[in-house]
């Protein structure tokens, strides 16, 4: 189940665990990404907590967790080549996996068509 936040994160939930990333639109808007900070596995987070930072040439952008739970795995391979983070690869460029405590967190998020309507 793929859902989006109004802050342009996506979460793809399979069972009780979701991969989290940022949308193609967000990657396009960031421009050249020059630094990424990822959370640490084992961290417990609440929905809306700042869990990662994307730094572009011009600005820093916080990434917020779409759901509460425990971060179980972090995609550190992403840091090897930041130029590989492109709008086309947005859904391959997951940042972390989270074991979601309450699937109800996702009820307030948007499905793909609602998200696409939001960004116009």
């Amino acid at each position: 189940m793929l859902r989006y936040t109004t802050d342009h994160e996506w979460i793809n939930l399979e069972g009780d665990t979701g991969k989290v990333g940022i949308s193609p639109h967000a990657i396009e808007q960031l421009g050249d990404i020059v630094f990424v900070e990822l959370p640490e596995a084992g961290t417990s987070v609440a929905r809306g907590d700042s869990v990662a930072v994307f730094e572009s040439v011009k600005a820093a952008s916080d990434i917020y967790s779409p759901a509460g739970g425990e971060i179980t795995e972090v995609n550190t391979a992403l840091l090897d080549d930041l130029t590989a983070i492109t709008p086309e690869r947005a859904h391959d460029c997951w940042l972390f996996k989270i074991r979601v405590e309450s699937a109800g967190d996702l009820d307030e998020l948007m499905d793909e068509s609602a998200y696409n309507a939001m960004i116009g």
């Binding site: 421009g31 050249d32 020059v34 630094f35 730094e55 572009s56 040439v57 011009k58 600005a59 820093a60």
Partner: protein
């Protein structure tokens, strides 16, 4: 999202930018391209490697003529305006009585007219400032019917030469008339990237055609304001509102060269006393380059600390594509301004180690006579 009710100004090249895939953003009251499809890093590197074409028409072009124009400008700046020969350009500063900087500007003399270029964000202020100090017989014209393009980078002379412009004997900080495709252009060999390059003033009605002509050269890339900022950051060139403002003394900002010798000796410019005190003794804080360690950029406003004590702050920060690393500018206590000093930048509760560095961070490549 732009919330201001005032409509944004547009330059003569607005449609050209949109047609070439620019991302337009509000900047100083203008709707300007922050980047094109290549992105900031690509545009930055294209400028350093070859040539970049920038629309800088948002900057105001102001011409002063008539007897008294020199004296009037000297009353507002620390520049020996009388010593600016025909065909020459100087970097200058509008100063206040406290020794702060109201704006920085270029002053050129062509056909006996003093031609000024001032920052877009300060244009209204500067024009009012000039108007308030107009003396009898001085005529001021705001040339809003002219566009201004910057062509910057090592290939820029060759690009102009391919269009028939003869650059023999034309060097850094000179100004002259040149014809491009039948249009009388006023060109200065100057810019704000640290590279060799030109600023080309032309009638606004010709701007789109000449921009297309310049861009048709394979050496030329279109470059937005994003890369303009990373280029000037690496070049250590101050930006008003960041490294310069009404409270920052030009000596602290590394602009001793902008204080003409005759004017220093006469001590007859606004803020002469505090500025000359710092000129002699050194400013308490000094502008330095900052190289953040570990890959994370530091941003404007971050405080700089040494052993837990605040010793300065970051004024501009981002990424330097030519350095392929984060880069920043900031003020630090003068005793800590020696290159290689290790400090800590405090950003949103985070500490980033930074090392001070001499300016420019990337060497200037001006072509001097």
């Amino acid at each position: 999202m732009e919330t201001s009710k005032t409509p944004l100004h547009t330059t003569a090249l607005h449609a050209f930018h949109v047609a070439h895939g620019a991302r337009m953003v509000p900047f100083a009251g203008w709707d300007m391209p922050v980047q094109y499809a290549d992105g900031i890093k690509g545009e930055h590197l294209a400028t350093r490697d070859s040539a970049g074409l920038f629309d800088v028409s948002h900057m105001a072009q102001v011409w002063l003529s008539g007897p008294g124009a020199e004296a009037m400008l000297e009353s507002l700046t620390p520049t020996d305006v009388g010593a600016i020969g025909e065909g020459r350009v100087r970097y200058s500063l509008f100063l206040n009585e406290a020794g702060g900087v109201l704006d920085d500007l270029m002053i050129a003399r062509l056909d006996g007219v003093l031609q000024l270029v001032v920052n877009a964000g300060r244009a209204d202020h500067d024009i009012a400032h000039l108007r308030a100090h107009l003396t009898d017989g001085v005529e001021m014209e705001v040339k809003s019917d002219r566009a201004l393009l910057a062509l910057q980078g090592p290939q820029s002379p060759a690009v102009l030469e391919r269009l028939g412009v003869d650059l023999a004997g034309f060097h850094f900080m000179q100004i002259g008339h040149f014809t491009i495709d039948g249009v009388d252009c006023i060109i200065t060999r100057s810019g704000y990237t640290g590279e060799d390059g030109f600023e080309i003033s032309m009638p606004a009605a010709e701007a789109e055609r000449l921009a297309a002509l310049l861009f048709a050269d394979a050496a030329v890339s279109l470059v937005g304001l994003g890369a303009r900022d990373t280029l000037r950051l690496e070049a250590g060139l101050p930006l008003w509102g960041h490294e310069l403002d009404e409270t920052i003394n030009p000596v602290a900002a590394g602009l001793r060269f902008a204080l003409s010798k005759r004017r220093r000796e006469a001590a007859d410019f606004p803020g002469a006393e505090p500025i000359l005190t710092d000129f002699t003794n050194g400013a308490p804080r000094q502008l330095v380059g900052l190289l953040p360690q570990g890959g994370r950029p530091v941003r404007d406003g971050a405080e700089l600390a040494l052993d837990g004590t605040i010793v300065g702050h970051v004024t501009s920060g981002g990424f330097g594509p030519s350095l392929d690393a984060p880069a920043a500018l900031g003020f630090v206590d003068a005793v800590l301004s020696t290159p290689g000093t290790e400090l800590m930048a405090l950003t949103r509760g985070r500490e980033t180690p930074v090392v001070t560095a001499a300016l420019p961070l990337v060497p200037h490549r001006y072509v001097r006579g």
